[in-house]
């Protein structure tokens, strides 16, 4: 197995008196989809936001390609090649696909926006992901369907030659066909050698695309298991009770928020 691209060691995070993350360890390997599962309030989204630099961590270490790094803001994460696709999409409705994909990192030539260059790059990226469902890259995001928006959000993450892509419930609000599109896209990202972290509530999705499943329980990492080594039922037990047979936290009853 290759060297992990992103490694978290002993991450802690509190919001005031609420201790949301307890000593989280997690490794993300290139070319693999790591699913992050857990019940509501288990800390999945918080963990992703900590990695993305939106929340500062209280303690713990983040290693990127073996090097310790300090991520202080979204820009730091982006510079390392960590991209996040958020649950609530983070696309500006009034801009078109190209403008959204380059938002905050516009390509300029002599101080001016280089529209043609950006448009070509956006089309190349969409083509490389075999996205064929949008009519034009100059379509406004407001006129796209939920699946198309998710596709654009993911393509945006890929555009930056990113190395790690974190997806926060990318299929939560989608129909069957659209979920299919997005899951295919997730697999393709991993095939391109990226480290992919997928947060999902949907066990079918998780088992379909994930190589590895990390279960959070009340802010603790209950277990990290290969998706082929466990059953549906075991994962559900890990999510709801923090423990399943030999797997999970030794005494979940002692775990407190």
């Amino acid at each position: 197995m290759s060297e992990p691209i992103l490694e978290l060691r002993g991450i802690n995070k509190s919001f005031g008196p609420v201790h949301v993350l307890h000593d989280i360890d997690l490794t993300v390997n290139p070319g693999e989809v790591t699913a992050l599962v857990g019940d509501n309030g288990a800390g999945k989204s918080t963990l992703v936001k900590c990695i993305a630099g939106i929340h500062p961590t209280d303690s713990g270490e983040v290693l990127f390609q073996g090097e310790p790094v300090h991520i202080k803001g979204p820009r730091d994460a982006a510079e390392l090649g960590i991209e996040v696709v958020y649950q609530d999409l983070a696309l500006a409705d009034n801009l078109d696909i190209v403008q959204n994909m380059f938002l905050g990192r516009e390509r300029t030539k002599g101080g001016l926006l280089d529209e043609t260059d950006m448009e070509q790059a956006a089309r190349k990226t969409l083509a490389s992901l075999s996205v064929r469902t949008v009519k034009s890259v100059r379509t406004q995001v407001s006129s796209l369907s939920g699946g198309q928006r998710q596709t654009v959000a993911i393509a945006k993450a890929v555009l930056w030659n990113s190395k790690v892509v974190l997806l926060d419930e990318p299929t939560a609000a989608l129909g069957v066909a659209q979920t299919r599109q997005v899951l295919d896209l997730v697999r393709r990202l991993a095939e391109q050698g990226l480290g992919v972290v997928l947060i999902s509530h949907n066990m079918n999705d998780v088992f379909e695309v994930a190589d590895k499943i990390a279960c959070l329980y009340l802010g603790r990492m209950a277990a990290v298991v290969g998706s082929k080594e466990v059953t549906h039922g075991q994962v559900v037990e890990l999510i709801t009770a923090g423990r399943s047979g030999d797997l999970g936290i030794a005494r979940p009853e002692a775990a407190t928020i």
């Binding site: 939106i54 803001g73 979204p74 820009r75 982006a78 996040v84 958020y86 609530d88 999409l89 983070a90 696309l91 500006a92 409705d93 009034n94 801009l95 403008q99 959204n100 938002l103 905050g104 990192r105 516009e106 300029t108 101080g111 001016l112 926006l113 043609t116 448009e119 070509q120 089309r123 190349k124 969409l126 083509a127 996205v131 064929r132 469902t133 949008v134 009519k135 034009s136 890259v137 100059r138 406004q140 407001s142 006129s143 796209l144 369907s145 939920g146």
Partner: protein, 483 residues
């Protein structure tokens, strides 16, 4: 969705049958790289029906108004009145252009009107007291004024809005040094004071986090009071200076008018054609060349007719000659071009739209949202100052009501009538110009028809209401037509 999908497969097939252009990314297959005229027109029509009206309603309204007034009034469609119309509408239009930046973020600047009054009074004081603002304002007021400028410098430096810092610093230097009166210096001072005012407003909105409605409502009252204090109850500050007088009342000479025509149309054609052919060359989606040429041609003809009409003698008596394009036309054009350029071609402009469309998305994309929000108020107040110069010049004096009353409401109205959305994220600078023209025509035409002020107000208000309804309805339509 289903019809959309059908049309998608349509275009895909059509595209695959075509031989891909060299340089085009042919394996993409979802974009038609060049449209025929028919496709382009259909595409535009589909967008209009989907709720993206843009400036279309305002343009239609403009045409209707022109027809109505020229049929009702004999004097409306005379050369003299047309030039008059441009000069009357200019100040509102300029303030509205500044407000577009604020409206794009979904914010509002109610203080732009009275802030413009402050800049006009400072300008007039500087002129009348020959640069001695200390003498003109009195000790206390002068020191408070300088204190506010220092505050503006500090706030803008903190937020790294260097343009605001620089302009505020220039205002402080002019105020402190007491350079003798000079029309250009006074105008510069007005714009700089405007920028300083914007720094304070913007800071309160962006960094302190008070809703812009409340901040600017409060400052609307404050600046109104400041104007009263600077001018004195019942007083008027006369602007006896040829340069300042000419800003709104002077005209370009014959040669100048046609040079302006050539520069404006030529420049527009050059920019549009360069972009068009570079897109074609790279195999990107482009409008058909014939349509682009037709647009340029139509604009050139319209501009030529207006330039020709304005370069004829339009004086009512035989004793004097009034001819040439009014100075306010190039002033508005230059501001329009610069502003449009900033909004469309720079990352700063792109970020304004992004923050207006989805603040959270912009923040996550690494855009400094606070800085963008503060900066638009600096732009709005600076533009308000330029508007103040124009309306003071038109009247020839500054009175305690400068910028109060309707100035602001008409400016916001101009922006909204033109198609700028009050919800943010949608609008262009040319909207302000078209909207300003609509309002100027209503005011001017109703005046010529000898309508009482009551009717003028009511009609203006109803037009604004109509424009706001169009915005709200088209937005709902756009939301429904998505997916």
């Amino acid at each position: 969705m289903s019809s959309e999908e059908a049309s998608m497969t349509d275009t895909t097939e059509k595209h695959e049958q075509e031989t891909p252009q060299p340089g085009a990314i042919s394996d993409f297959g979802i974009d038609t790289t060049s449209q025929s005229t028919g496709e382009a027109v259909r595409d535009y029509w589909a967008r209009v029906r989907g709720g993206e009206l843009g400036a279309l309603p305002a343009l239609l309204g403009l045409i209707v108004l022109l027809i109505v007034f020229s049929s009702l009034s004999d004097t409306f469609f005379t050369l003299g009145n047309l030039a008059n119309l441009l000069q009357q509408g200019a100040s509102i239009t300029i303030i509205a252009m500044g407000l577009v930046f604020v409206l794009l973020l979904g914010e509002i600047d109610l203080s732009a009107g009275t802030a413009s009054g402050v800049t006009a009074s400072v300008m007039a004081l500087h002129l009348i007291h020959n640069g001695n603002l200390l003498g003109g304002m009195g000790d206390t007021v002068f020191y408070v004024f300088c204190g506010l400028l220092v505050l503006a410098i500090a706030l803008s430096a903190w937020m790294k809005i260097w343009a605001g810092t620089a302009l505020s610093a220039v205002a402080l230097i002019i105020a402190a040094v007491g350079v003798p009166a000079n029309a250009w210096l006074e105008m510069l001072l007005a714009v700089c004071v405007g920028a300083a005012i914007g720094c304070v407003t913007g800071f309160l909105v962006a960094k302190v986090g008070i809703p812009s409605f409340v901040v600017t409502l409060a400052l609307f009252l404050v600046w109104g009071g400041v104007v009263l204090q600077l001018i004195g109850q019942g007083g008027t500050l006369g602007l006896r200076d040829d340069t300042i007088f000419n800003v709104a009342n002077g005209n370009l000479n014959f040669v100048g008018s046609w040079v302006l025509f050539v520069v404006a149309v030529g420049g527009y054609a050059a920019v549009v054609l360069t972009r068009h052919f570079s897109r074609l060359r790279k195999g990107l989606v482009a409008q058909p060349t014939s349509l682009v040429l037709a647009k340029i041609g139509a604009l050139a003809v319209l501009a030529a007719v207006i330039t020709y009409a304005l370069s004829l003698n339009r004086a009512a008596s035989n004793l004097i000659v009034i001819e040439g394009v009014p100075y306010v036309v190039p002033v508005v054009l230059v501001l329009l071009v610069i502003g449009t350029f900033v909004l469309d071609r720079t990352s700063y402009g792109r970020h304004i739209y992004a923050v207006g469309g989805n603040k959270e998305a912009a923040r996550r994309a690494g855009i400094n949202v606070e800085r963008i929000r503060m900066s638009v108020f600096v732009i709005a107040s600076s533009a308000a100052a330029i508007g103040a110069i124009v309306y003071s010049s038109k009247v020839g004096s500054v009175d305690p009501n400068a910028g109060a009353g309707n100035t602001l409401l008409l400016s916001v109205g101009a922006a909204v009538i033109g198609g700028t959305s009050l919800f943010g994220g949608k609008g262009r600078l040319r909207d302000a110009v078209i909207g300003g023209a609509v309002l100027a025509i209503i005011q001017n035409g109703m005046g010529l028809l000898n309508q009482p002020a009551a009717v003028v107000f009511i009609v203006t208000g109803l037009v604004l209401l109509l424009a706001a309804s169009v915005d709200a309805l088209s937005r709902r339509r756009a939301a429904n037509s998505a997916r």
